[in-house]
Symmetry: C2
Subunit: 133 residues, 2 copies
């Protein structure tokens, strides 16, 4: 198979914070969304103009994080990367950066810093139990 030319597709282009908010809107949206849709979703929390949302969408297209499909004279946007993958990547980044990649260290830290509520603990215990069967 010929080597894929521009190499991209393998390239985990970094998604910025603002861009991430747009991704969340897209992931949240059932099916492809228009720029207006995204604006409506995201405009509540973040005070962005429609223009800003469009810029972010363009940048995400460039970064190959989302795809466009023409629909009449506008575009429908849909995520190219899955939320789980993104979340996994970011989590791993943090783990590597701050905990030497050791997940247990993270959990330990959360526990020590009291970031874990009683409920969290119970949930995690249940989770572990399930993983163990």
């Amino acid at each position: 198979m010929p080597r894929k030319s521009v190499s991209q597709s393998e390239n985990p282009e970094r998604i910025s914070d603002a861009e991430h908010a747009v991704m969340e809107a897209l992931w949240d949206h059932a099916g492809p969304a228009t720029a207006q849709d995204v604006f409506d979703s995201v405009g509540e929390s973040r005070e962005w103009s429609l223009a800003t949302v469009k810029t972010l969408l363009s940048r995400l297209v460039q970064k190959q994080a989302i795809a466009t499909r023409p629909d009449g004279r506008r575009f429908l946007y849909s995520p190219l990367i899955e939320r789980a993958d993104y979340v996994g990547g970011e989590s791993r980044r943090l783990l590597d950066k701050l905990f030497g990649g050791r997940a247990a260290s993270l959990v330990a830290h959360l526990a020590e810093s009291e970031a874990l509520s009683e409920k969290d603990l119970t949930e995690i215990e249940a989770l572990l139990k399930e993983l163990r069967q």
Copy 2:
């Protein structure tokens, strides 16, 4: 619109990736370090020039993340924020951004994505047990 005049010292200035590497060097170093020290520590992994390290140190001073103490004609740098605090802050950021603040979700995700080794699981279990007593 008058920019909200922040009461300094309360201001959690964001530390960039490169700056973080410098912080790690400082945290690692026993006692105050010179720019050269930092350069020596960090120069291995990252291919930075001494000038770059100095720039980063300056920026960290501005951000009030580190303090300087004159020592003859040079400075000794030492962290003003503790690693645990930084780590806690960043962890929380991730948690809020990706998991709606729910730590259990993070752990669940790590588990599902198989980011947790057998050893991790055992460690976490032990941790929980300890927290429970």
